[in-house]
């Protein structure tokens, strides 16, 4: 019968991970659903659990001149009350599930669960977040866009733990987040949209657009963003057709119980258009 390991330090957790076959358990909100069993029977875990949710080292938030480093086991709710956390990340977190789930669910868990509908992912892609992956003998930093390989598949090696999420500081004066779900609370996204921009002197200086739940991985197209940088209103209008075509190629949603591919694609493209036409326009003062 499976049981659990209760390391008291991160070091100890890495040691156990190095020696045993375990399932890493932080908040448990996804794992417990995935391993759900009949009432009063034990969840269906195949390996012992390695409890990392209470490790102090994984619950810290550190700020430096260029970065913000968030411990992977910080609960989603705990991030809502931290001043340094980027507002766009807070906006996405507020719309995740319900208070009780946000109290247990962790940022690291939302990433490692690697669901195409993970609601913090489009934000972290847009912010160019890096992930610190640590094993007993090594540590590496990987950009989140390389970390997630597909639904439920990540680069995380068997002996590694996601230790922290590193977010480079950046200035944006336009933040736009939209989650499309069937209801307000406890909805899994049909799709989600993140638009960030820095608009100055009537020109777009920096722009990031990401979309969740419309492809096996989060959609972010650097080439499209590069085309938009430096644009004024007129330029945006003339580039709209080309830009939408670029996104249209990458937006390849599926039909599932939550929504249809057609609906997702139409709404995703309209959100891009809305962000560029209306939201950015507001910032340009017209």
């Amino acid at each position: 019968m499976v049981d659990g390991y209760f390391p008291s330090t991160f070091e100890e957790a890495l040691k156990i991970l190095n020696e045993k076959d375990v399932v890493i358990y932080a908040g448990g909100t996804d794992l417990m659903v995935r391993n759900k069993n009949a009432t009063s029977l034990l969840p269906t875990f195949n390996d012992d659990l390695l409890y990392i949710g209470n490790l102090k080292e994984l619950k810290e938030i550190k700020e430096s001149t260029n970065d913000l480093e968030i411990g992977a086991a910080c609960s989603l709710s705990s991030l809502l009350i931290e001043k340094e956390i980027p507002e766009i990340l807070k906006e996405a977190i507020r719309q995740i599930a319900s208070p009780a789930i946000r109290n247990m669910g962790t940022l690291g868990g939302n990433i490692c669960n690697a669901s195409p509908a993970g609601d913090t992912l489009p934000v972290l892609y847009a912010l160019d977040a890096k992930l610190k992956l640590t094993s007993r003998n090594s540590s590496r930093e990987v950009n989140i866009k390389y970390f997630i390989l597909g639904p439920r598949k990540t680069l995380l090696e068997k002996k590694e733990i996601l230790e922290s999420i590193i977010i480079p500081k950046a200035e944006f004066n336009k933040l736009y987040y939209q989650k499309v779900g069937s209801r307000k609370a406890s909805a899994i996204s049909k799709l989600s949209f993140v638009g960030l921009a820095q608009v100055k002197d009537e020109k777009v200086k920096d722009i990031r657009i990401t979309l969740g739940s419309v492809a096996p991985r989060i959609v972010r197209i650097k080439e499209a963003e590069d085309i938009l940088v430096g644009s004024n209103l007129k330029d945006i209008e003339s580039k709209m057709g080309d830009v939408k075509k670029m996104y249209s190629k990458e937006i390849v949603p599926i039909d599932d119980q939550r929504s249809t591919a057609v609906y997702r694609k139409i709404v995703a493209l309209r959100l891009i258009q809305y962000f560029l036409n209306i939201e950015i326009r507001k910032e340009l003062g017209i």
């Binding site: 659990g4 209760f6 759900k36 208070p99 009780a100």
Partner: protein
């Protein structure tokens, strides 16, 4: 690997040799006979199993007992006898917030957790606070009224 698990439930310290992967909900109901928390969906959608752990609302169906060792676990039974519970109980009754009653323990815990954080909530705070709790009888308005009434009457208690 640890063999015994220590839990603090409703101000009592309990040690058990149960498997650490056992759900807190099952441990409460079957080992402790604490049947306030109910199993509705068993996957975090309905909130009928909600308890408070270290001041935070948590679905007891989604946590293993191993993950909540050494933390303060409060169920609706543990709230009983407090002034806050008295007020919530009366306000829920007066506003018609209890019909079949299945969601009520979870609703009371959600209300208590909310008022502990926001003693003077707006209606939208209340809606957000109970957004993880399903009720199929009342249509929610009566529950929201009950919680707003409790906030008013319990002024200074939370």
């Amino acid at each position: 690997m640890n063999k015994t698990i220590t839990l603090k439930i409703n101000n009592k310290t309990i040690t058990t040799e149960e498997n650490s992967t056992k759900r807190l909900l099952d441990f409460l109901r079957e080992d402790m006979d604490i049947t306030g928390p109910k199993e509705g969906c068993g996957e975090g959608e309905c909130g009928a199993c909600a308890v408070i752990i270290d001041k935070e609302l948590v679905n007891s169906c989604l946590v293993t007992i191993g993950s909540v060792q050494e933390k303060e676990i409060t169920t609706v039974e543990g709230l009983r006898g407090t002034k806050q519970f008295d007020i919530l109980e009366k306000c829920f009754a007066e506003s018609g917030a209890v019909q079949c009653g299945f969601c009520t323990p979870g609703m009371i815990m959600a209300a208590h957790a909310l008022l502990s954080k926001i003693p003077k909530p707006t209606e939208s705070d209340v809606r957000e606070g109970i957004s993880g709790n399903l009720c199929r009888c009342t249509g929610y308005n009566m529950i929201i009224n009950g919680i707003l009434m409790a906030a008013k009457r319990g002024d200074g208690l939370w």
